[in-house]
């Protein structure tokens, strides 16, 4: 491929250099110019983490071929904080607490800069609409929008720049103070390096071959042609694992790469380390894997039937974990009930969608220590597992946790770090792997989809006399956090309510679906969705206010939980009261009284969204500012 020569002004400096024609502007900025403040969240124009200005226009650099940069003036996030001082907008992000993991933040800052450049008087709704092309998975956007409004007002002289200053308690009591986040300046400036931004001298690039089958025997893998390619420094399969090949948060049922069979589409089968990503990708195409498809099972109820395809020999019934909770006698409780309500609930699989796709580096240091740098949520456990997998003592394994661009539980599984270790050991060079968004979505854990049957018996006064729940969760192909998720779901299923008769069973089941794993709120969300919906159904039938039915049943100080643990202080009544008061709740049974109720707030809600109708003409806005 003939190289292009790109001449452009980038962050005020003239750049003239060759570039490979297949590059996107994003790659040119990140890889060739090392301007890693511009991030790749999706590579498809959907997330906005790659936003830059091209000739003053906000653009998603993942959609711009590098040739288009020719002769343009480009500004990246690194240009905003010129000579080290943060821009007004960056200061506002810092002050308002608008950054959390920070991975969306450079793009967000660029989009916000564009918003108030386009209309210095943009209102809150217009700001939202102008940020509509940028995804943030952490903040819920509220503090980001607050920050943009703050910056707008400082810029317009309506607010003094002193609002950006730190609140410093005079007595030094910093616990309880709104100290500005210490990591924010590096995030708003795009200076913080996540694993995918890091480079090491002499580094190789890793790509992973993934299974196209949901369930298949791996008959043979031939890597000889891939290995012989120019620029390929190492190819690994499960045959390269020297120790006990298995990882997982609870059961170690997952090999670093498929061993003997594949159990889901997207499972790693082999990996290549090469001089560049393109060569590594080409090498994947040269690996010959012979599969023999096996019958697969995709529904957890079917997987529990006798005769269903078995995923793991140790679990012939495909049950990863069953957790029972028993208190009192539910049969008696139902007999003593005046109202019995039964209902099924279901929840879907969802993706963590942290904006930072998985990435990591591996190297063997001068003392022979196998070192992994990655946004792992559990380096201690990963070290222990990797030491067994590579048959090295703990002292020869080191994990460094790089800044995590969002985790939410999705980065607890050691899904790729083993491959980095093996390739670093095999090639004796540093290696780096950066997942694409698609790779991240198909190969990593999801939230457990669930089907729940809930039966509740109550007396007329609203007291819950019996609670019976059965929850079936699809754990997918590997155990990951399923056991823990089932446990937490079971313990918390019946809610913060004192109930004398409880029967709960949660089941995590193996299927050939994408594995389910840890996800913020870990099973409690699925179970309490059912219980809290159910309480409203029962309250309607009993003519009780929904707060009231919860108050009647709420645990009090000194309560005993459904696992027979005695609690000291229980704050549920305080929480109920606070929410009721803050929302100005109008009492009444949940009988679809929406239209008739008078508590629809005028405060504490946003105006309903009517797309496109919210831009005020800048001139009009200006006039109203003056007025």
């Amino acid at each position: 491929m003939p190289e292009l020569r790109i001449e452009a002004t980038i962050n005020g400096r003239k750049v003239a250099r060759p570039a490979k024609p297949h590059l996107r502007l994003l790659d040119f900025l990140r890889d060739d110019l090392e301007l890693t403040g511009t991030k790749e969240g999706c590579g498809a124009g959907e997330c906005g983490t790659c936003s830059v200005f091209v000739d003053g226009v906000l653009m998603k650099s993942c959609l711009v071929p590098v040739a288009k940069a020719q002769g343009t003036r480009i500004e990246t996030v690194e240009a905003l904080a010129n000579s080290g001082e943060l821009s007004i907008l960056q200061k506002a992000f810092h002050k308002a607490g608008a950054s959390q993991c920070g991975y969306c933040i450079p793009g967000m800052v660029m989009a916000a800069t564009a918003a108030i450049r386009s209309n210095p008087f943009a209102g809150r709704e217009e700001i939202k609409e102008r940020l509509g092309g940028n995804i943030c998975r952490c903040t819920g956007y509220q503090k980001i929008i607050d920050a943009v409004e703050m910056a707008r007002d400082v810029q317009n002289g309506k607010l003094s720049a002193s609002v950006f200053a730190e609140d410093e308690p005079e007595d030094g009591a910093f616990i309880g103070a709104n100290v500005r986040r210490i990591d924010a300046p590096s995030k708003v400036a795009g200076a913080l390096k996540y694993a995918g931004d890091m480079v090491m001298p002499h580094m190789l690039h890793v790509q992973v071959l993934r299974s196209p089958h949901a369930h298949a025997r791996v008959v043979s893998i031939d890597v000889s042609e891939a290995e012989a390619m120019d620029g390929v420094e190492g190819v690994i399969t499960s045959a390269d694992v020297p120790g006990e090949d298995g990882f997982g948060v609870f059961v170690h049922d997952q090999p670093i790469m498929a061993r003997g069979k594949v159990r889901y589409i997207g499972e790693a089968v082999a990996a290549v380390a090469a001089e560049d990503v393109l060569t590594a990708k080409r090498a994947l195409a040269k690996i010959k894997v012979v599969y023999e498809p096996l019958p697969a099972v995709f529904d957890p109820d079917e997987a529990m039937q006798p005769g269903a395809p078995v995923l793991h020999d140790y679990a012939p019934d495909n049950i990863t974990k069953h957790i029972p909770i028993r208190v009192g006698d539910v049969t008696k409780g139902f007999a003593a009930s005046e109202l019995i309500v039964e209902q099924t609930y279901s929840t879907q699989a969802i993706e963590h969608a942290y904006l930072e796709p998985e990435a990591g580096l591996g190297y063997v240091d001068a003392d022979g220590v196998v070192t992994i740098i990655s946004p792992s949520q559990n380096i201690t456990h990963h070290r222990e597992m990797l030491s067994k997998i590579i048959a090295q003592p703990i002292s020869k394994v080191r994990f460094i946790m790089s800044p995590v661009g969002g985790g939410f539980g999705g980065k607890e599984d050691m899904i790729y770090q083993g491959m980095l270790a093996l390739l670093a050991m095999k090639t004796r060079r540093p290696v780096r792997l950066v997942f694409t968004r698609e790779e991240s979505i198909i190969s990593t854990a999801k939230r457990h989809p669930s089907r729940t049957t809930l039966k509740m018996g109550l007396s007329k006064d609203g007291r819950i006399r019996a609670f019976e729940m059965r929850m079936i969760s699809d754990g997918g192909a590997y155990g990951m956090s399923t056991e823990g998720v089932m446990r937490k779901a079971a313990i918390l299923a019946a809610g913060p309510y004192a109930i004398a008769n409880v029967k709960i069973d949660t089941y995590g089941i193996y299927t050939n679906n994408t594995p389910s794993g840890a996800f913020r709120s870990f099973g409690a969300l699925q179970a309490q969705f059912a219980t809290e919906s159910h309480l409203d159904i029962c309250a309607e039938k009993l003519g009780l206010d929904p707060f009231e039915i919860r108050r009647i049943n709420a645990m009090r100080d000194g309560a005993t939980t459904h696992t027979k643990q005695k609690l000291k202080s229980v704050s549920i009544l305080r929480a109920l009261e606070a929410a009721e008061k803050a929302s100005d709740w109008e009492k009444g049974a949940p009988v679809s009284r929406g239209e008739t109720r008078s508590d629809h707030a005028t405060q504490g809600i946003r105006p309903p969204c009517a797309l496109g109708a919210r831009f005020e003409a800048p001139a009009a806005a200006e006039r109203s500012e003056v007025a």
């Binding site: 959390q100 949901a214 380096i379 946790m401 994408t514 929480a575």
Partner: protein, 341 residues
């Protein structure tokens, strides 16, 4: 009226730190030259704000400013085990062990300075980078105090370890002590449902959560706001779809996430019911923040249009189908009545 409003409520509870097993974490602290503080513990930021929280705790306990605190990297070969970043355990487990380590380092410094001034250690106070003896003229900077301390051959160090008094669950009836700290919460949602399109807009959430003790209230709000919006994603739009194990939602074009246009106004109410066991009284907020949101929204949809969504997500199609179904059965039920007229 095409658009109807409704409100709903839901409560939640959650356990702090690892479940049904003994949790533990460790940290080291050093009061360093210039009156700065070095904290070493195996943790880094995953976005929740833990580094700021730890800097605040160390500053508060030792008597310096958060800006004077340096946090070491999360590195299994260089720092004590803090274990994993999850389970709503960071502020609770690591916050508490940093407090223990910081108090111990301060004690070492105070002992030397008290001796130097010939006053009782109990009269010594520290705050905002200064150290003084109450009721005397003795007052110096922390930097000066460290210099004096080191000149006497003492490096003011501390270490902290914090563990939980918890047990596994009985395999038959589940009895056990899974956590030593619990949090509780409640949220009210106000929604608007478009009866023509089935679209649900969440306009407001009032979220009251017990966090034990808020180290950084703005950070707590950030966790609540972010958790709520993630829950709305699951409640209303996100869906990882699989057919025969193959996904059709492998990119953000198909896998729909909430944007700035979808989010309600969130009003957070922080409740502080201090944990009686840990040295700080802190508990946590990361995960529980998202639990009541979905049922509160589903209860609000019921209030608005009288349909109960029991399978997530409540997409416009699903809500619309349910509304039509309800109207049909309503009409059916009404036929005899109409005929009788």
């Amino acid at each position: 009226m095409a658009r109807k409003r409704g409100r709903g409520v839901a409560a939640c509870w959650y356990g702090i730190a690892r479940t049904a097993t003994v949790d533990r974490a460790g940290a080291w602290a050093e009061i360093d030259d210039g009156g700065t503080v070095k904290i070493l513990t195996g943790v880094t930021e995953i976005g929740e704000g833990i580094l700021t929280v730890l800097a605040q705790i160390a500053a508060h306990e030792i008597g310096v400013k958060p800006a004077d605190v340096t946090l070491g990297d999360n590195d299994t070969a260089r720092s004590p085990e803090a274990a994993h970043a999850g389970a709503t355990r960071q502020t609770y487990m690591i916050g508490n062990c940093v407090a223990i380590a910081a108090r111990q380092a301060r004690e070492k410094l105070v002992e030397v300075i008290a001796d130097h001034w010939d006053v009782a250690a109990s009269t010594i106070e520290t705050a905002n980078g200064e150290i003084w003896a109450a009721g005397t003229n003795h007052r110096i900077s922390m930097g000066e105090a460290v210099r004096i301390c080191k000149a006497k051959g003492v490096v003011p160090l501390g270490s902290g370890s914090f563990g939980t008094d918890t047990t596994g669950l009985d395999p038959i009836d589940g009895a056990g002590r899974p956590w030593q700290a619990y949090v509780f919460g409640c949220q009210v949602a106000e929604v608007e449902v478009d009866t023509i399109t089935g679209e649900v807009q969440v306009l407001g959430i009032w979220a009251a959560h017990d966090v034990g003790r808020a180290v950084n209230p703005r950070g707590v709000e950030g966790q609540i706001e972010g958790g709520i919006v993630q829950a709305l994603g699951q409640g209303l739009m996100e869906d990882y779809k699989l057919d025969q194990g193959r996904t059709s939602t492998s990119g953000f074009a198909k896998y729909i996430l909430p944007t700035a246009l979808d989010v309600p106004h969130v009003t957070s109410i922080i409740i502080e019911d201090p944990d009686p066991i840990g040295p700080l009284g802190v508990k946590g907020i990361g995960e529980p923040a998202m639990i009541p949101t979905i049922p509160a929204v589903m209860n609000a949809i019921y209030d608005a249009v009288g349909v109960r969504i029991t399978s997530l997500p409540a997409t416009p199609e699903k809500v619309l189908d349910a509304i039509k179904e309800k109207e049909k059965s309503h009409t059916r039920r009404n036929i005899p009545a109409v005929a009788a007229e």
